[in-house]
C-alpha cells in the first residue's frame, strides 16, 4: 500500500494520462473491450510500482507499463499476433471501383484497417508518434527500442502504412531492425 502522499501524487501525475493509456492499448490490442481490461490491470500495476517512479515523464512511465501489460496479454491470449508481420485478413484492399467517392467514414475505416494490419511493433510507434505526439526519447522509453533506432523503425512503419493504404505490396518493408 502506498502512503497517502504517494497516493495523491499518483492521482495527480499518472491518472491524467488515462486517455493515452487507453489509446495505446486499443491500438496494440486492436480491440476496445480487451484494452479496457488491460488498462485497468496496468493502472493497478502502476499504482503498486509507484514507489519506483522517481519523477520525470509520468505519461511515458505509465505507457511503458501499459505497453508491457498489453504484450503480456497478447502472449497469453493471442500469441500469433506477436509474430505476424502483416495481417492479410484485417487488411482491406482498396476499393476496386476508383470512381467510388470515399466518404469520411470510409476513409476512417480504411485507415483503421490499414493500421490494424500492421504488426504491433509498427503500430505502436505510429500511434505514439502521430496520435500521442511522443518524442523519439519517449518512444524509446515506452517501447524499449534503443533511441538510435526509433527513427528507422518509424521510417519503416510509415512506409508500410503508406504502401498498405495505396495498395502497393509491402514486401519490401521488413520489420527486422
Amino acid at each position: 500500500m502506498l502512503d497517502p502522499q504517494d497516493r495523491i501524487r499518483f492521482e495527480q501525475l499518472v491518472l491524467p494520462h488515462l486517455d493515452s493509456a487507453v489509446n495505446l492499448a486499443r491500438w496494440i490490442l486492436r480491440n476496445r473491450a480487451d484494452s479496457d481490461d488491460v488498462v485497468q490491470d496496468a493502472t493497478l500495476r502502476a499504482y503498486r510500482f509507484f514507489g519506483q517512479f522517481h519523477g520525470g515523464d509520468a505519461r511515458a512511465w505509465l505507457l511503458q507499463i501499459v505497453r508491457n501489460t498489453c504484450y503480456t496479454w497478447l502472449q497469453k491470449n493471442r500469441p500469433s499476433e506477436l509474430t505476424t508481420e502483416f495481417d492479410e485478413e484485417v487488411h482491406q484492399k482498396p476499393s476496386p471501383n476508383p470512381e467510388t467517392l470515399a466518404t469520411q467514414a470510409d476513409e476512417r475505416q480504411r485507415l483503421m484497417s490499414a493500421l490494424e494490419s500492421l504488426s504491433p511493433r509498427f503500430r505502436e510507434v505510429l500511434v505514439l508518434r502521430e496520435l500521442e505526439g511522443c518524442s523519439y526519447k519517449e518512444i524509446g522509453e515506452i517501447t524499449g527500442i534503443p533511441i538510435g533506432t526509433v527513427m528507422s523503425t518509424l521510417s519503416r512503419a510509415r512506409e508500410r502504412l503508406r504502401q498498405t493504404l495505396t495498395g502497393v505490396p509491402g514486401a519490401a518493408v521488413k520489420e527486422v531492425s
Partner: protein
C-alpha cells in the same frame, strides 16, 4: 537514383528531432533533392490523414469509474473497512445488534497497541479524503451536526464550530475504529481537512496526551472529559494542538 536520406533523415527532420546544425544541413539538401521533397510530402500527408480521422481513443467514464473503485478497494484492505461498510448499511435501525457485536468484539479482539490504533486512524483519515467519503452529514452548523449523531452512537460527541478561531466545522460522519463506532468530526484549516475522532474512554483511566507524525500526517491525541479524542491531518502539529485545546467536553 535513390536518395538514402529520403528514408532516414527525412523522418528526424519531419519530427523535429534533428539538432539545429543537422536540420539546416538537411534543408540545404532538401532544396535540390526531389526525392526528399516527395518523401516529405508523403509523411506529412500520412500524418494529416492519421490526425484528422478521429483515431485517438479516450477512456470511457465507465473505465474511469472502475479504476477509481479499484483504488478505493486497494487503499482500504484493512479489516475495518468491512466493518465500516456493515455499519453504514441503511438498516442502521439494528443498532442493538451492532451493540451486541461490539460487545463480542470487545471480548474477542485483543487489546490494541497504540501503534496499530494510530495506523488505523491514519487509514481512516486517508479514506475519508476519497471523493464522497468525507461526511455523512455536511453542515457548518453544530446544531445540525450534533443531532445527526443521535441514535447512531451510544455517546454524545462534543460538536462545536470553531470558525472564529480558524477551524470551521464542515461536517461529520460515523467511522469504525478498532471495532468501535466512533464519531468523526471534520474541520477545515485553510485548504486542509482535520479529522477529529471521538469515542468514550472505556478504560476508565486517563489517557495520556500523545502526538507524532507518520506518512506525512500528524496526530495529536488525548482526553477531553470522558472522551478520547484523536486529531489527524496533514496540517502543522501546532494547528492540531491549537484545535485540541479548543475542544471542550
Amino acid at each position: 537514383m535513390n536518395c538514402e536520406l529520403a528514408e532516414t533523415t527525412i523522418h528526424g527532420y519531419f519530427d523535429g528531432e534533428l539538432d539545429a546544425v543537422r536540420s539546416a544541413e538537411f534543408e540545404r539538401h532538401l532544396e535540390h533533392c526531389p526525392q526528399c521533397q516527395a518523401a516529405l510530402e508523403r509523411v506529412d500527408s500520412l500524418r494529416v490523414q492519421l490526425q484528422q480521422n478521429d483515431l485517438h481513443e479516450h477512456a470511457s467514464p465507465e473505465l474511469r469509474e472502475k479504476i477509481r473503485k479499484q483504488f478505493a478497494q486497494e487503499i482500504s484492505i484493512t479489516p475495518t473497512l468491512a466493518w465500516k461498510k456493515w455499519f453504514l448499511l441503511p438498516a442502521f435501525g439494528t443498532l442493538a445488534a451492532a451493540a451486541a457485536l461490539i460487545t463480542i468484539m470487545l471480548v474477542a479482539i485483543p487489546s490494541h497497541r497504540e501503534a496499530t490504533l494510530t495506523a488505523e486512524l491514519i487509514d481512516a483519515h486517508v479514506r475519508s479524503l476519497q471523493p464522497g467519503h468525507l461526511f455523512d452529514v455536511q453542515s457548518t452548523d453544530q446544531h445540525t451536526v450534533k443531532p445527526w449523531f443521535d441514535g447512531k452512537l451510544d455517546f454524545i460527541p462534543p460538536v462545536a464550530d470553531y470558525a472564529a478561531q480558524g477551524f470551521p466545522l464542515v461536517g461529520g460522519r460515523l467511522d469504525v475504529v478498532d471495532g468501535h463506532n466512533v464519531a468523526a468530526l471534520v474541520y477545515a484549516r485553510r485548504k486542509h481537512f482535520i479529522n477529529v475522532f471521538v469515542w468514550p474512554n472505556r478504560e476508565k483511566k486517563t489517557v495520556a496526551d500523545t502526538s507524532g507524525s507518520r506518512q506525512g500526517y500528524s496526530w495529536v491525541a488525548g482526553q477531553s472529559g470522558d472522551m478520547q479524542i484523536y486529531l489527524i491531518s496533514d496540517v502543522a502539529p501546532s494547528d492540531l494542538r491549537e484545535l485540541k485545546g479548543l475542544i471542550r467536553p
